[in-house]
């Protein structure tokens, strides 16, 4: 009569079915983690940045394990990250010293170092290319990436020099932003510091940020932004070893940085100028970086004495809901048992229906 221990066996069976589904048709060769890492690099990038852990191999493994579900893969990365010892914080990375692979400005035709298109889908026709399905023929292109990046290193964009004026908001030193708290730290629950906000946006869900950025551009917000510059390439991570007191480079990571410029028409205390939005992500994730910059600017309403009218301007709305791992967990919790709740609701509704049937006013007692 009791549903005795059937649950445990059923869960084991579910795991076996999942493994079979993940593998698919045994006639088709199995994907290797290397292949995913190399050939699905944009998915790897997204999993790293939303998972908050820069490790291409682990991200590729997470993608394989989750059948390509990047939100699930990001949650695997987050759980892995939780087990790692946090032995210190790096120096702030300096994307100005990036070895760039791609770098464009949309506000100036000529920028020092030039516009570098690099690898991007921006100038392709979105036509299915059936040649891509043929597994050969690209060997000659493979080594083109390396020399390009070497030749174009060290391009720091100075927007002030470009405009030849102080029209652009002066950038604060990133060290002004207090601490190195990330989204798992207690205090991030009530953040308002811009640095911390940026850290949470960086690990936010690309789809959500894209949607709210779009909402602000379509009229549910008032930020008219231009891309001052977007760049993608390698940046050195440096760490100050406490015992030695010296800064050592611990390796390169790929980053995408986006700086947006938004006309601000002035307030009593602030002169009219271009205000800024800032986006930074792991890997190549331009859609995410631009969305992040637009949302960052929208969230700075208080600094510019703007009325907070739209969801995109409201930090308490944007930040918690941008987290794909939390959002996914909570929405999908609806799949867990809710027998107790259903019963509770049922009882409430029964009582209210009885009152409704007798057409009672709120203060009236039930008739027998």
């Amino acid at each position: 009569m009791y549903l005795k221990n059937s649950g445990e066996d059923a869960i084991k069976a579910s795991h076996r079915l999942l493994a079979a589904k993940r593998r698919g048709d045994l006639q088709v060769p199995e994907l290797s983690v290397d292949q995913i890492e190399q050939q699905m690099s944009l998915a790897v990038d997204r999993v790293m940045v939303e998972g908050g852990l820069y490790d291409r191999t682990l991200a590729a493994l997470a993608i394989k394990q989750s059948q390509g579900d990047v939100v699930e893969a990001a949650s695997l990365m987050r759980a892995t990250r939780a087990t790692l010892e946090r032995f210190g914080a790096s120096e702030p990375v300096d994307p100005g010293r990036m070895t760039v692979q791609r770098r464009i400005s949309t506000t100036h035709k000529d920028i020092p170092g030039g516009q570098i298109l690099g690898p991007t889908y921006d100038y392709t026709h979105r036509l299915l290319d059936f040649d891509t399905a043929v597994p050969e023929g690209l060997e000659d292109v493979a080594d083109e990436l390396a020399p390009l990046s070497e030749a174009s290193s060290d391009l720091s964009l100075d927007v002030h020099a470009l405009t030849g004026s102080d029209f652009v908001e002066v950038e604060r030193d990133e060290r002004d932003f207090s601490g190195d708290a990330d989204h798992t730290d207690a205090k991030s629950r009530r953040s308002s510091d811009r640095g911390e906000r940026l850290r949470r946006l960086a690990s936010g869900d690309e789809g959500f940020l894209l949607g709210v950025a779009y909402s602000s551009m379509r009229g549910y917000g008032n930020t008219k932004g231009l891309v001052g510059e977007i760049r993608y390439g390698d940046v050195m991570v440096e760490f100050t070893v406490p015992e030695l007191g010296i800064v050592v480079g611990v390796g390169d990571i790929e980053l995408t940085e986006c700086q947006t410029l938004h006309p601000f028409f002035g307030s009593r205390d602030k002169a009219p100028e271009f205000s800024r939005g800032y986006g930074l992500t792991f890997g190549q994730a331009e859609r995410k970086a631009i969305s992040m910059a637009v949302v960052d600017r929208a969230l700075r309403g208080e600094e510019f004495e703007e009325e907070v009218k739209y969801p995109v301007q409201d930090e308490a709305f944007v930040l918690p809901h941008a987290d794909s791992v939390s959002s996914s967990g909570v929405v999908q919790v609806l799949k867990l048992a809710h027998y107790v709740h259903f019963q509770g609701h049922l009882q409430e509704l029964e009582a209210l229906r009885a009152r409704h049937k007798q057409n009672l006013a709120p203060g009236e007692e039930m008739k027998e």
Binding site: N5, T184, D185, A186, A337, H341, Q343, L352
Partner: protein, 290 residues
């Protein structure tokens, strides 16, 4: 009250004992101590991402992980039952990463992690009840801003909740809250009892067991220490009531437990069974022996 030392890394499991590293456990234990010292107050803590989805009990998971020692016996229930999928998953997790014995017997457990129920078997002073909490802030649906609600708690300015209850009575003729009914802890902090049914609220009052509430996503821990006064909000002329049934459990015959409807498949009469499956089983056996 004694505090057990944090168990070390376990080689044969390949992770830290109970998954979390000692540094994280220490920070969670500090939050728990503070929570016990200030009954009902929501203590912020560094909430790690556990290998389960947020919202599925990661707060409770972290509390249990930081409390667990090799001498503990763990019971995990979800909606009253040991055999629900989420309870099984959590039990399997702790079994793997800690190796502590698991039990269904409420009396034998030293730690009971639960989602949305308090066991029917009375708890004792050697037990800790760990409750999974989706939303620790009782005012959240009324006031979205954390800044505002922190102020309300600091000032103990809880009139708004009474207004909400009053509006329920004025509009609907009754307080239509089936679960997560707000409680006043030790005459001070207003707290969410977690989404337990109103039926379970009285069990928190003056309970010999320590109750710790973990909200992972919201990064909050709060506690109700043993033998603490816990009052469900009510008015002088409108008292707090809990769920009750005219029916009895169709398995054990109990008339004093939280019941759930079970589907009949055809249009027969509605039948009910105990939500607490362990209690139901032990109760039924007791009847047989009699």
């Amino acid at each position: 009250m004694t505090i057990d030392p944090i168990p070390p890394f376990v080689e044969d499991v390949g992770t830290n004992f109970a998954y979390l590293d000692p540094q994280t456990k220490r920070s969670i234990r500090r939050a728990i101590l503070k929570a016990v010292a200030i009954p009902g107050y929501q203590v912020p803590f560094d909430s790690r991402e556990m290998p389960m989805p947020p919202g599925w009990g990661t707060g409770g998971l972290q509390v249990t992980a930081s409390l667990l020692t090799p001498d503990d016996t763990l019971k995990v229930i979800d909606q009253g039952t040991d055999d629900a999928t989420n309870a099984i998953t959590i039990r399997a997790f702790f079994s793997k990463v800690s190796g502590v014995p698991m039990t269904e017997r409420t009396e034998s457990a030293t730690i009971i992690q639960t989602r949305h129920r308090i066991p029917e078997t009375p708890l004792n002073e050697n037990q800790i009840l760990v409750l999974q909490v989706p939303q620790p802030e009782p005012f959240r649906r009324l006031i979205p801003s954390e800044k505002e609600t922190r102020k309300i708690h600091a000032l103990g300015n809880y009139g708004l909740m009474s207004v909400m209850l009053y509006e329920n009575i004025a509009r609907l003729g009754r307080v239509a809250i089936a679960y997560d009914y707000p409680v006043r802890v030790h005459d001070r902090y207003l707290a969410s009892p977690s989404p337990i049914p109103t039926f379970d609220n009285p069990k928190l009052d003056n309970s010999p067991a320590l109750a710790i509430f973990g909200a992972g996503r919201e990064k909050r821990i709060y506690a109700i220490p043993p033998f603490t006064k816990v009052r469900s909000l009510e008015f002088d002329d409108y008292t707090f009531t809990t769920q009750s049934w005219e029916a009895r459990c169709s398995l054990c015959g109990s008339s004093h437990t939280y019941l759930e409807q079970i589907g009949q498949g055809d249009k027969g009469s509605t039948r009910y069974v105990c939500s607490d499956t362990y209690y139901c089983k032990s109760h039924a056996h007791a009847d047989e022996q009699r």
